[in-house]
Every structure is written in C-alpha cells, then in structure tokens.
Symmetry: C2
Subunit: 299 residues, 2 copies
DNA sequence: TTTCGTTACGTTAGTCGTAAAGATT
DNA sequence: AATCTTTACGACTAACGTAACGAAA
C-alpha cells in the first residue's frame, strides 16, 4: 500500500462518492475503483460498503481511516517542511507568550533555536483577557497558557513551566505582617478578574470563587492588563494570585509577593489549534518536551 | 514520494550504509541509490552527505527523518491493525490498573468497549510497589499511574481521573475528632511507604517527606499491598494518603477517611512505553481523551 | 586492489486512461 | 433511463535488477 492509495482511500472516505473523488484527485473514476479494490484485497476485508447508489465506510474502514489520517498528514507536513527548508526559505513560527515569560522560558527557547537555527521564531504577546483568540484567528500558531484548558478545538501540548502560584499584595498590606499566609486568607480581600469575557473554568485558576474550605471569595476590580492588576493591588483595592514569572520580573516599590504555604501549582503548557497542527509545531513541542517544564523549588 | 521510498530513506538513515540497507530491504544496492537520488531531487536538497567511505545525514535529512518516522510508524500500525481485524483476529489490549480502579473508570472503559467491540480489553492488576515494571516487561501494554511520571522511556497519555487525595486513618484516631484536618497535620504521624524501591519523586505524591510549610514527615512501616496499608492504618501505626477510588471501594469498620481541606489533587493518566506505541494504544488513548478524566466534586 | 556508491540499460510490474458492461433506483 | 461502480484492455511510466564504472583508502 502506497501513499497514493492512502490518499485515494482518505479522499473517498470523505467524499463517499467515486466520481467526485476521481475529480478531486484528477484521475479517472476507474482508478479510484481499482485502488480501493487493491487495498481491500491486501487488507482482506471490504473498506467501503457500496452499491451504485450509496457508498459508506465499513467498521474496519472507519477504524482504518481514523488510524491512517494522522500519520498521512504528518508525512505530508514533513516533506513540505523539508522542501521549504531546501529552498532556503526561512520558515517562521509565531509563538504567543504572556508578558515576561520569554525570559523564564529561556532554556526551552534556546534549546529550540539551537536545534533549529533554520526556523525563525517570532514571539508575540498574548493577554489573559483573550487567551485563545489569537490562536483561533491565526495571529499566532502556538501559544502558552496556564492549565486547565478545556477547549475542544485546541490541543494541549507539553508543559513548559510548573511552579506554585504566589500572592501579590500592596507593600503595606496587613497580610505582609503575617508569619504565614494560606489560601484561606483569600476570603478576606477581593481578587481582580478579567475585564473581557474568558471561560469561567479558566478564570478559576487565578481568581477562584471559593477557598479550599469553601468560603466565598469576592471578585473585585475588572482589569485587562497586568499593569492594571499591579495598580489595583498597589492601592490596596485587591490582592491577586499570580504566576511565579510575574513575581520574578515585576518588582515594584509598592508591591510585595507572598508565598501561601498551600498555594496550588500553576502549570503552563503549549497549546495550538488541533486542525492546523504542522510539523513545525510538533518540532517546537518536541523541544518543549525534551527541555522539560521549568520548575522552581519552593523556598 | 511513496511509502517504499520513505522506508528506504528511514532504513538508510539508521544503517548509514547503502549495502546493508539494500540487504535489509531485499533490494539491490542500485535501487537504494536511485530511491535516495529521487527523493533528493524532489525535496531539492541532499539528505545524506556521502563519499564511498562515509554516509551521514545532512541537517535537512536529520530533520526529515525525525518528522517522518512517527507518521510512517502510524501508517504501518494502522494497516496491520486493519489486516488483523479483517482476519477476524480478536486483537487484545492488556491494560494495567490499580486495585479497584476498573469500577471508577467505568465511563472510559465502557466508551472504549462500545466504540471497539472488536478489541478485547484485558485488565491486569498492577501494584504501587512496581508501577512501571509490568510495562517495561511487556506484561501490560498500557497502564494507569498517578502523576507525576518522569521516565524517559514512557509516554504520558491523557488523564483518566482527577480527584483530591483523602486521608485514611484508624476509626478511633485522634484526627477523627477534629473539625478540619489539613496537610500540616501529617507532620504528627508517620506515613507508610513502599517496601520495594520506586522512584523517590513518585513516592512523594502519597508519601511526602515534608508538609507544605516545610515541617518533616516521618516515614513509618514499609508496605507492599493496599491491604497492608489498611492494616497498619487500622492499628494506628500510621495514617495514609490515598486516592479517592480507594476511599470509595475499601470501606472497613476499623478505617475512616478524612478530607484534608488543602489536599493536593491526585491525577491518574495512561502511560505506555514510547517504543512500543501501537494503533491499539492510540485508540485507547483517544477514548480516554474523549471520555475525559473522571472528576469528583469536593464535598 | 578492495570497498562502496553511482550510472547505464533492459525488463517487467503495475498505474492509469478509455471504453464498455453491470447494477441499482 | 439516469446515475454510479466495476471490468476489460491497451499504453506507458517507473521500479528494479544486472553489470559496468568511478572514487576513496
């Protein structure tokens, strides 16, 4: 069985019509019939149940289609990528990152750039007010986000960072005098939340509505950038859970970061639209996998 | 480019020798040379740098190899699976599960069995004393385990269950009189740990050495089965963190389960040896993905 | 001179198109 | 009768082997 046959099989599985399949592939209808007949002979079972009026997949055919399609697509991607590399085209991959993450992900990004100097990696900033929009609009091909992500059209790839959340408070906030702070303390001050709509389950990570023991947490000012978060925290209007990278790179006089002893771990992963997965994306994912998530020991 | 060419390319990339490649594929040496020449012409770049003494991959060739191999393997698996399905062979997949999990994973397993009545799913029990051994020995092809798993030869697949850990204590244990218990309380009683060697990072999930605030936790009796865990807990020798499924299915008179308000979430995922991944395994993983992890609301 | 990759050339399997036949509604 | 799929058959492409050639140590 050769790729050409697989292409014919997959196209027919989509069209469910020998004539249209032949047209799409610019071959004669007879060829489609012959190719399918050959494959069925080799497999040893009918792949399509067909009359002169209807064509449909048999169970074995349906299973084969599901198993073949991913591999076939990968092979196409691979050869296409090699061809464009050969033509000296600098292939470009646009990766969406949150604010200061580029610094924190240096290990992973360096590994990727070293391994693949021929691929130009563009970094674009994405914001928590619209974590998935740029991916879906095609503005970036891959992005990072914190987990969990439950979007049926997006694939969640390898982790790139994993670190307990920290609590951002005003420098003169009452909590700064405490020996320890815990997630229970969140019940006493409002948390900011996203000014534009984002999935509620996703918002829960940084802006939970209840403490671990079930006490409600108020939602305070609506914000749309990290600067605004810092601003409302600095004035004491709110406290905010943030990821470790923020704590490391945004150090302001009016702001302090505390480590709740029971802070949940914030996990960042690569995500991309399942439908537009390419060899380029898989290459990036492989580098992320090999670099492993950046973890920071709890102090 | 057809599958035959890809096979020749991948074999040569492995052997780095035209003669041996020809032997392995039972073709003439000339054919190997012709096939590679054709592929290089189509891609537009040399894939191998070769003299009459040395053969090695060019950067483009190395990239192509990495990108092609997975897809090629998938296609082979797919056709093999279809052939054996056609021969009416009931293909069998052996899945390793911990004790009572089969009940808890009913949704996922039912989905798989309904979708694929032609695949016989064998369940074998695996134990926490040797979580990865059966996979590596081939006794099971896929297994569940709790995360994290950091084994370079194993692939971590989709989550199958996700639920906060619970604390197993003797029915007359002092902790049972408390209004709430937390992870900090673990510092006061020893936890059992595995009698046989398992990776320390993995043991940390159920048998952490420190509380969230950093106080040390003693390790008490070494145990090798869940029954033994229950036994040492019932006598008051130890308390034990366990996953939700245990709490649901092992209900003994001398045992009670408590919910630490800040218990970490226990995550179970499918894992399998990367090297022996098959279409069958991917089919199971797809079902797990679609069923989603079983989650239990915190009460 | 031996070892290996490449090139030349002839054979043949099998891909593909044309055209006609067979099935289904 | 109209609309599809299958079969028959011939043309031609390209896969492959044999054998000779060329480069490297």
């Amino acid at each position: 069985m050769e790729l050409r046959d697989i292409e014919i099989f997959l196209t027919l599985a989509e069209e469910l019509h020998f004539g249209r399949t032949a047209d799409r592939l610019h071959v004669s209808q007879a060829r489609v019939s012959q190719s399918i007949a050959k494959q069925e002979r080799q497999i040893g079972a009918r792949l399509f149940a067909r009359s002169s009026r209807r064509v449909e997949l048999t169970p074995i055919g349906a299973q084969l289609r599901a198993d073949l399609s991913a591999g076939y697509q990968q092979i196409l991607d691979a050869t296409r990528a090699a061809s464009s590399a050969a033509r000296g085209e600098v292939s470009t991959l646009t990766l969406g990152l949150y604010g200061p993450q580029a610094l924190d992900l240096a290990d992973f990004l360096d590994l990727f750039r070293n391994r693949h100097p021929e691929i130009r990696l563009h970094i674009r900033e994405v914001h928590f007010t619209d974590p998935f929009g740029p991916l879906r609009a095609g503005a970036v091909q891959v992005s990072t986000t914190w987990l969990p992500v439950r979007e049926p059209d997006l694939t969640v790839g390898p982790l790139v960072a994993s670190e307990p959340l920290v609590l951002m408070v005003a420098a003169d906030h009452p909590l700064t005098t405490r020996a320890t702070v815990g997630m229970e303390d969140l019940a006493d001050w409002p948390l900011p939340h996203s000014a534009s709509p984002v999935p509620e389950y996703w918002l829960q990570t940084l802006s939970p509505t209840h403490t671990p023991s079930g006490r409600p947490i108020r939602r305070g000012p609506a914000v749309s950038t990290f600067q605004e978060v810092a601003a409302v925290v600095a004035t004491g209007e709110a406290v905010s859970l943030v990821h470790g990278d923020a704590a490391r790179h945004y150090r302001w006089p009016g702001i302090r970061y505390l480590r709740p002893y029971d802070a949940p771990v914030g996990n960042w992963a690569l995500i991309w639209p399942t439908a537009t997965e390419t060899a380029l994306i898989r290459t990036l994912a492989r580098a992320a996998q090999d670099a492993g998530p950046r973890t920071t020991r709890t102090t």
